[in-house]
Structure formats: structure tokens, C-alpha cells
């Protein structure tokens, strides 16, 4: 340590672990895909995980260990986001990790996008992230510690495949959202980062593809020649939300097999 690194809260010990055990984590979109894989991975490393989804039955069978909780909520409504965080705080008295995975994807050609679709997509994908981050910021500021990850998409950079314009626009918003929170919360030792998944083998990822077009797309366009698995994205999220990500904030981490090389 020196006067230049004063305020650092992680150890320099080379054998230091991830510091996940005992942490209170909130993961949205936990019924399937990246959210579910992340909730289960953090629980396996000893976090007390609250898994949230609009689809309660979809969370049946999720493995959150002994201390995990599930909560059903429609996060497109900011009041519901506040309630999710409030009930978690009533139970755990703190919030260490927030991972925003909840999102929907609709493929609609631009000419057919109406205000209702716009609002539905923006509220579910972007406003929900804003409301969750805002609600989480309060306890994290008080604790002077915290980790937030928001999930964006390669669509934020390339406009989205197969008529997903509104999805892409919302995901572009997630990039700015994360940087804005990162700036405002940095003084409180809270990091806020973005994960940009590419083609991940989840129900949402495969939406609009046939099995053949899916395999061909990744063999042709991705240096790693394959789609990713949700568990692989979860492991990148683990890096960002753990002690190992302590000097990374405001960053957009691409987990896309080299699709963009931006």
C-alpha cells in the first residue's frame, strides 16, 4: 500500500480467493439462461442469493444452496424493484452484489414497431436496470462497498440481428447506464460494469434461429467457432462481482467468442 493506493480493500496475497462466501447477492432474470447460471454459481461459492424472476415456476428446481431465496416480481415496474430490494434488506440487512440479467427479446421489423412495443421493451430491459441499480445504490453507499453488473448485448454495438432494433437500443442504453452509475458510485467503493454477451446457448439467444442456422452462424462468424454457454458468462460475471474485479469499473466486458473484436 502507498499514498497512491490508499483506500484499497482487497488483499495483495497471491492465494486470495474470490471473497464471495457470505456475500448477499441479488440476481434478476434467474429462471433461465445467464441469470440462472449466475445465481447458481454465486450460491455454490457461498453467497446468500436472492433469485428474482417474473416467472416463478421457471425458478422451480434452481439450486441456491441452503441460504437462497426466490422472489417473483415484474421488474418493468420500478415500484416492484424497490420492493424486491426492500424485502431483501429487511431479511439480510445488506446488499453486496446485484446482477441484472432480466430482459426480453422481441423481433419486430422497424416499420411495425409501435409505442406499446417500445415501452414494453424499454421498461423491461432498461428501466428495470435503472430502478434496480438505483435501489441497490442506497445500501451499497452506506456500506461503502458493492458490486453491480448489468447485462447488455453485442446488439448494443452492432444494432442487433433479425429485427431486434428496440432490444438493441435498450441494450445500448445499458452501456451508458452502467458508466453513469460507475461514476457516481466510485467514491463509495462500488464498482459497476457491463457484460456484453454474444451468442449464448439460452432460450433467448436461440430465439429466431433454427438449430442449423444457429450452428452455422457461430461457425462462420465467431473466432472460437461456437456459441457460448450460460455458465461461461456466469464465470465472467463472477470475476467482476468478486474481490478479483476490484480495480475494474465502468468497463464493458465482451463475452462473445471474439465476434466483435472492437
Amino acid at each position: 500500500m502507498s499514498e497512491l493506493t490508499a483506500g484499497v480493500t482487497v488483499s495483495a496475497d497471491p492465494s486470495a480467493g474470490f471473497g464471495i462466501a457470505g456475500k448477499v447477492a441479488l440476481v434478476t432474470g434467474a429462471a433461465s439462461g445467464i441469470g440462472r447460471a449466475t445465481a447458481e454459481l454465486l450460491a455454490r461459492l457461498g453467497a446468500k442469493v436472492t433469485a428474482v424472476d417474473i416467472n416463478g415456476s421457471g425458478m422451480a428446481g434452481i439450486d441456491l444452496g441452503d441460504s437462497g431465496v426466490t422472489d417473483v416480481a415484474d421488474l418493468s415496474v420500478p415500484r416492484a424493484c424497490d420492493q424486491v430490494v426492500a424485502s431483501l434488506l429487511a431479511r439480510e440487512r445488506r446488499l453486496d452484489i446485484l446482477v441484472n440479467c432480466a430482459a426480453i427479446l422481441r423481433r419486430v421489423p422497424i416499420a411495425q414497431v409501435d409505442a406499446a412495443l417500445w415501452e414494453k421493451m424499454m421498461d423491461t430491459n432498461l428501466l428495470s436496470q435503472f430502478a434496480m441499480c438505483r435501489a441497490a445504490a442506497r445500501p451499497m453507499r452506506k456500506q461503502n462497498s458493492g458490486r453491480i453488473v448489468v447485462i447488455s448485448s453485442t446488439a448494443a454495438f452492432n444494432g442487433g440481428a433479425n429485427a431486434s432494433s428496440v432490444y438493441a437500443i435498450g441494450k445500448g442504453g445499458s452501456l451508458a447506464l452502467a458508466k453513469s452509475f460507475a461514476r457516481q458510485l466510485a467514491a463509495y467503493n462500488v464498482t459497476v460494469n457491463v457484460i456484453c454477451p454474444g451468442g449464448i446457448d439460452t432460450p433467448m439467444g436461440r430465439f429466431g434461429f433454427t438449430d442449423e442456422s444457429w450452428a452455422a452462424h457461430y461457425a462462420n462468424n465467431v473466432p472460437l467457432k461456437r456459441a457460448g454457454q450460460p455458465e461461461e458468462v456466469a464465470k465472467s460475471i463472477l470475476f467482476l462481482v468478486s474481490d478479483w474485479g476490484s480495480y475494474v469499473t465502468g468497463h464493458t466486458l465482451d463475452v462473445e467468442g471474439g465476434l466483435m473484436l472492437r
Binding site: L4, T5, P14, A186, P223, L224, L238, F239, Y247, H251
Partner: protein
């Protein structure tokens, strides 16, 4: 070994780390060793690299003294290591030189020295390492660049910044080339990390000015940046390639 580190999947992996006598390279090599890798530590500073290796957890580590401006030595390093260990899994290109001098004073010798040590060595090490990794169908290459490569560098680090931008482009080229073989190639872009190199040619005032521009309000520890490098060298980053990972306390916000 800390059982938590098993998830990294580097136990039994063979790793080469350049610039291992100090700073980020020293710390990254220590972490890889602590996670069960067999590390070949490389530096131009013989005493420094020997002392570093003596401090590693586990056994089977090797210290090498090499001037990376010497291309034949780079190739020989990869061949020798792969032959001795039976394989090569991980290459961390951390070694670099930085001198802060006015742009008018960068002469041909200075230019060549920076280009050769910082950029050319990484290119030829990547190429040789890629060949050595292909049979195992698994590999991780991490090329350490710098935020200077994106924003032009600070306090007389112009030529240095150019080498660091070159590393980012080079990394993407190798990511495309080696991806089909299960080898990921990524750039780590450190911001202001409190290392001997960071302090080179800086005064108390310029260091404080650099610190005050960082959103997290502090410089990073070498260990913090090294963990980002080890993330890219591990199973945790299996679907990340061609990426520029910034470990910079929020400086770039990219």
C-alpha cells in the same frame, strides 16, 4: 492451495510470464503458482526473477533471463519451455520498457528499443506460443497493453503509447488466427497501477495528478491488475477472446 482457486482451472497448466521480476508480471506469476500452475518466469533482471521464483507456492517453477529484444531468444524460450514441460498452456506477455522523454528527443534507437521490447517481442512470442499450444487444443495468451494505447499516453510516453496501441491490434489478429484451435488471445489494459514502472520519471505532483483523475480515487495494486490477467488466463474467461479488458479504476469507461 486455496480450494477456491480450483475454479480457475490452471492447476497443472504450464505458464510463461514475462516481466516477472516486478510489478504486474511478478504478481501474476505468483497467483498462477498459487493456483497450481508450473510457471516459467522471464525477466532481463536475473537476480530479480530468481528471487521472485524462490517466493512462489508449489514447485517445478523456472527462472529465465532473457532480453526480449532478441528474437532468437524469444523463439528459443518457447521451444525450451514446451520441451521441458511437455506442453505450453498459458503465455502472459507483461514485459515492457517505459521512458518518459519529450517527443522531439525520441531518436531512432529509442524508437527501436521500445518497439522491439514492447511490441515485436510479443508478436513473435505469440506466434511461437500459438504453435506450441495448438496440440493441446487449449491455450490462453494475455498481452499487457496500457490505457496509454487508447489515449496517447502521459508525461512523455508517446512512443510507449504507440507500442501499446500496436499490442491491441496484434491481439485481435491472433485471436482470429488461434480461436479455432481453442486458444483465446486477449489484451489487458492497465490504468495507473502502483508499480516501479508507473513511478518512472514521475514526480510526487504528477503522480498525485494521475491519481486524482481516477474515478475509484486511487491507483491499483499490482495484485489487482494481475488478477485481471489471471482471469484472462483461466477457465473463467473461456468465451472471451480478442477483448481489451481495462483494469483502470474507471479511467477509460469503455
Amino acid at each position: 492451495m486455496n480450494p477456491e482457486l480450483k475454479i480457475l482451472g490452471v492447476e497443472g497448466r504450464v505458464a510463461i510470464v514475462t516481466g516477472a521480476a516486478s510489478g504486474i508480471g511478478k504478481s501474476a506469476a505468483e497467483i498462477l503458482a498459487a493456483a497450481g500452475a508450473r510457471v516459467t518466469a522471464v525477466d532481463v533482471n536475473t537476480d530479480g526473477v530468481k528471487a521472485a521464483v524462490a517466493g512462489y507456492a508449489g514447485s517445478g517453477h523456472t527462472a529465465e533471463t532473457i532480453d526480449l529484444a532478441d528474437l532468437a531468444a524469444c523463439d528459443a524460450l518457447i521451444q525450451r519451455t514446451a520441451k521441458r514441460e511437455g506442453k505450453l498452456d498459458i503465455l502472459l506477455n507483461v514485459a515492457a520498457v517505459l521512458r518518459r522523454i519529450d517527443v522531439e528527443e525520441v531518436d531512432e534507437a529509442e524508437w527501436d528499443r521500445l518497439m522491439n521490447v514492447n511490441l515485436r517481442s510479443q508478436y513473435f512470442l505469440c506466434r511461437a506460443a500459438g504453435e506450441a499450444m495448438k496440440p493441446g487444443k487449449w491455450g490462453r495468451i494475455v498481452n499487457v497493453s496500457s490505457g496509454a494505447g487508447l489515449v496517447g499516453g502521459f508525461v512523455g510516453a508517446t512512443a510507449y503509447a504507440i507500442t501499446k496501441a500496436g499490442i491491441m491490434t496484434m491481439t485481435k489478429s491472433f485471436a482470429k488466427d488461434l480461436g479455432p484451435h481453442g486458444i483465446t488471445v486477449n489484451t489487458l489494459s492497465p490504468g495507473s497501477i502502483d508499480t516501479p514502472m508507473q513511478r518512472t520519471g514521475m514526480t510526487k505532483e504528477t503522480l498525485e495528478a494521475a491519481r486524482s483523475r481516477i474515478p475509484l480515487g486511487r491507483m491499483g495494486l499490482a495484485a489487482e491488475c494481475a488478477r485481471a490477467a489471471v482471469f484472462l488466463a483461466s477457465d473463467l474467461s473461456s468465451y472471451v477472446t480478442g477483448h481489451i479488458l481495462a483494469a483502470d479504476g474507471g479511467f477509460l469507461m469503455r
